[in-house]
Symmetry: C2
Subunit: 445 residues, 2 copies
C-alpha cells in the first residue's frame, strides 16, 4: 500500500456502478422495457395518437410557471450552464407538450392526439418504485371540449391495464371532478381561497395519513363551523355518488360538475368499462387540472395502490400567453408497468432471443461460405448470427441453445462443397436438409 | 408599461422556445426520427445484435479515465448534485457500455453483440449538424479477437448506408490501423512518444488544415531529420496501399498491421463490398482505439465528408481493473442520417399518417355507435380515429384527408339503424358498402 501515492492510476479502479438512482438496461432488461414501450405505442396508435418527443433539458422557467417554486428547487435537477441559462432535467412532460403546442398553436390541426415516452428526473432518495429517473407514457388530446375526450383517454388507460394482463376485476378506475371540489368548497361551504386550498391539500394526502389526523385537520379548517365540518366529513365518507349527492343541497345534485362525472361513467359503461367508481377524495396533486381527474387503482389485496392517472387541464397554455386550449391526458410509468407485467403476465414471456438462427462454421475456412448463407438469410429479414469462435462444433451448438436461438446450421467442408444445408431445431433435435436455393422457404413462418 | 413592476406575471410570457441547441420533435419530425431508428434497429437485429440502454446521467469520473480532462471540462455538461456527486450528461456511449460489460464480465456470454440508440450531449456552440444533443446508434461486438469482428461491424455500417438510399458508388469505406500508425512512428521512424503523439494529432486534423501548414508541422516534428520528413510525407501522399508499402522498408510490408488491413479489405470484397480504400491519415480522434479504424465517407461532390466511423478498442475495460476484452464498434448520428435520407431517399416517403381510418359521426347521438365500430376495428389492430367535433360531415371528411387518413366511415342515423357501413377511400372516392360483421375483412391487407 506504500506506493499508492505514487501510482494512483493503477489503484483507483473506476467503479462500474451507474449513477445513484438510475438504471442500466442490460439486453434482458431492455427486452422487458421494449415490451412495455410496445404495449404503450400499440395502444396509443390504435386510437390514432401520434408520437412526439423533446429534449430532457428544458429552461427552468417552464416549471416555475405552474408547478410552484417548491418543485423546481427541491425535487428537480437544476443547473446553470456556461451561458448563465438555468436548465432543468424535465420532471414531467406536460409543461413540455404545452410549450410545443403553444409554439405552433395556429399550425397544428385540432384536435391533436399526441403521445410520448420521455424519461423524467426527480431528485429524491431512491426507493422501490421511486427512482431518480423513470420513463413515462404521456397521452394527451388537445382541442376537444366535450367529455368524449375524457372517455377516450380513460379508455386508452383501461386498454393498457388489460394489455399488462390484468382483468377488469383486478383494478378500478376512480373519478373525481376538480369543478365539483371547487363547487363544494366555494358554493356549498363558502370557504375562502386559502381554506379551500388547505382542504384540497389534506384531501390529496388522505390516503397517506391516519383517519384521526385527517378528521382533526378538517375540523381545524372549518374552525367554529363544526356543523359544516360534520357535513363535509359525511360527503368524504360516502360510498358512492348517490350517497354523496344525498348529503348535498338539492341544487348541487344537478350541478354541471356532478353531471360530468355521471356522463363519463355512463360513457365508459357503454364501452363495457364498468370498474369505475366515484372518488370524492381524489385530487391528483398537480395544480393545473381544471375538470375531471382520474386514477387507475390496483385492487391487489397485497398491494393496493394508485397505479397512474390524469385529467383535464384546459388552462395550461395560458402561461405562454396563448388563449386557453382544452386538454385531457394521463401519464403511466415504466417501473409500475414492469411490476404489473410481472404479477399479472409473468416476465418469462419476454424471452430474450437475439437471433432466429445461428450459423456455425466447423473450421475457420468455412467462414466465407457461412457469411454468404448469413447474407442471404439477413436480406430476407431472418435475424442471423455467426459463431466466429474456435470452439468445437458441439460447444457452438450448446452456446446457441443457451442463447435461446431456435435453430442452427452447421457449415463444414461437405456443406461448402455440395451446398446441402442441415437446419437443426434445437428444442426437438429435428433436422431438415435443404438446398441453398430452398433455404429461405424454411424461414417463412 | 407603467404597471410592469406590479404585475410581472401578466407581462412575463413564458417563451415557447426549447433550450438552446436541442430539438423539439413534432409528430412529423418524430416520424422521420422513427424511420431512422427503425433502419438502425432492423439492421443491427438482422445480425443478431441485442439492444441495451442506460441513463444519460453518468458519474463524471467515467470520462476522465480515458478521454482526458479536456473533454470533461470544456465540452461536456457537468454538474454537482446535492450529494456532492459529480455528474455528466454522457457525451458518448462507449464508456457506458464498457462500464456495463465490466460490471458483469463473468455473467455475459461472449461474444456479446450489443447495440443502443442513446441521446448524447456536447457543450458547444450549436451549428448545422452539430447540436448540443443528438441521438447516435452504437453497435459493438465484444469478445472476438479475429478480424471477423471488424468485417461484420463494417458490413453493418455498409448496410445502413444502403438502407439510407445510397448506392455503393455514393460513398467509400476508409480503413486504417492504429497498429500501423504506431509501427511507422516507433519502428520505422523511431519517434519518441511525445513526437509520435504530436504527429497523430496533426494527421487527425489534416483534412481541416491547409497543405502548407500540414507539411510545415510535420517538418517541425522531424526537426533536423529532413530526409525522414520527406519519407513520411511520401507515405502520407500515397494513393493506395501498394504505393504506401513501396515507401516502407521491406520488413514492414509484411507487418501484422498491414496484413490486417489487407485481410479486412479482402473479407469485405468477398461480401461484395468493394468501395473500400486504405486511408493512411485516418485517425478517428478518440484515444481508446487499438487496431483497425474506419470511417464512412460521403462522396457527394457538393458535400464530401466523413459520415460516421469506428474501430477496435481492446483495452477499454482495463480502466475498471478488468482484464482486456476485444471490442469493435461504431457510432452513427441521427442528424447526418436525416440529411442522407433527405438527399438519397427523400423525406416525403415518411408520410405522417396517424390512422388507417377516420370514423365520422354525423350527429352527436351517432357517437356511441361510432365508438362501437371503432372498438371493433381497434381490437383487430386497425388504427382508428373518431372525429368528435361539431363540424359538418363534409368538413370532417376534408379534415381526415388533410391528415393523410386513407379511409373514412360516416355514421348517421341510417347506419345506426341498419348496420350498413360505407367505407370511402379518399384518394379515389371509391365507396364500398359492408355489413358490420364483414367490416374487418376490408382492413385485412
Amino acid at each position: 500500500m506504500a506506493d499508492t501515492q505514487n501510482t494512483p492510476e493503477k489503484h483507483d479502479k473506476l467503479s462500474t456502478e451507474p449513477y445513484k438512482g438510475v438504471r442500466d438496461f442490460y439486453p434482458e432488461d431492455m427486452a422487458i422495457q421494449k415490451r412495455i414501450f410496445s404495449i404503450w405505442r400499440d395502444t396509443a396508435e390504435k386510437y390514432g395518437y401520434e408520437e412526439y418527443s423533446a429534449s430532457v433539458l428544458e429552461p427552468s422557467a417552464l416549471y416555475r410557471a405552474k408547478s410552484g417554486e417548491e418543485l423546481v428547487n427541491e425535487q428537480t435537477y437544476n443547473f446553470t450552464d456556461r451561458g448563465e441559462r438555468e436548465v432543468t432535467l424535465r420532471p414531467e412532460m406536460t409543461p413540455t407538450v404545452a410549450r410545443m403546442i403553444a409554439a405552433r398553436r395556429r399550425d397544428i390541426m385540432m384536435p391533436a392526439r399526441w403521445y410520448s415516452i420521455p424519461n423524467l428526473f426527480r431528485y429524491e432518495q431512491p426507493q422501490r418504485g421511486r427512482l431518480r429517473e423513470h420513463w413515462q407514457l404521456n397521452v394527451d388530446i388537445f382541442g376537444v371540449t366535450s367529455l368524449n375526450a375524457e372517455i377516450e383517454i380513460i379508455n386508452i388507460a383501461y386498454d393498457i391495464m388489460i394489455a399488462y394482463g390484468l382483468k377488469n376485476t383486478d383494478f378500478e378506475i376512480r373519478l373525481n371532478n376538480r369543478k365539483l371540489v371547487n363547487h363544494i368548497n366555494k358554493d356549498v361551504f363558502a370557504l375562502d381561497q386559502d381554506a379551500a386550498h388547505k382542504l384540497s391539500k389534506i384531501l390529496d394526502k388522505k390516503a397517506k395519513i391516519n383517519e384521526e389526523t385527517f378528521v382533526s385537520s378538517v375540523k381545524e379548517i372549518f374552525a367554529e363551523r363544526s356543523e359544516d365540518a360534520k357535513k363535509f366529513l359525511a360527503l368524504i365518507n360516502s360510498n358512492n355518488i348517490e350517497e354523496f349527492i344525498s348529503h348535498l343541497p338539492q341544487c348541487s345534485a344537478n350541478h354541471e360538475s356532478v353531471r360530468e362525472v355521471r356522463e363519463v361513467m355512463a360513457g365508459l359503461e357503454r364501452l363495457g368499462i364498468t370498474n369505475v367508481s366515484f372518488a370524492q377524495t381524489l385530487m391528483r396533486g398537480l395544480d393545473y387540472y381544471t375538470g375531471i381527474v382520474f386514477e387507475i387503482f390496483d385492487l391487489n389485496p397485497e398491494n393496493r395502490r394508485s397505479v397512474f392517472g390524469g385529467g383535464r387541464y384546459d388552462d395550461l397554455l395560458s402561461i405562454f400567453g396563448n388563449e386557453k386550449l382544452p386538454a385531457v391526458g394521463f401519464g403511466a410509468g415504466d417501473v409500475i408497468a414492469r411490476d404489473l407485467l410481472e404479477t399479472y403476465s409473468g416476465l418469462n414471456d419476454t424471452k430474450n432471443t437475439s437471433a432466429d438462427v445461428a450459423i456455425c462454421p466447423i473450421n475457420e475456412n468455412n467462414t466465407p461460405y457461412a457469411l454468404d448463407i448469413a447474407e442471404k438469410l439477413r436480406d430476407s429479414g431472418v435475424r442471423t448470427v455467426i459463431d466466429f469462435s474456435n470452439k468445437k462444433i458441439g460447444d457452438k451448438i450448446a452456446n446457441a441453445n443457451r442463447r435461446n436461438i431456435a435453430r442452427v446450421i452447421c457449415i463444414g467442408d461437405e456443406e461448402v462443397a455440395n451446398g446441402k444445408l442441415t437446419i437443426k431445431v434445437l428444442s426437438s433435435g429435428e433436422e431438415t436438409i435443404t438446398n441453398e436455393s430452398d433455404l429461405l422457404s424454411h424461414f417463412k413462418e
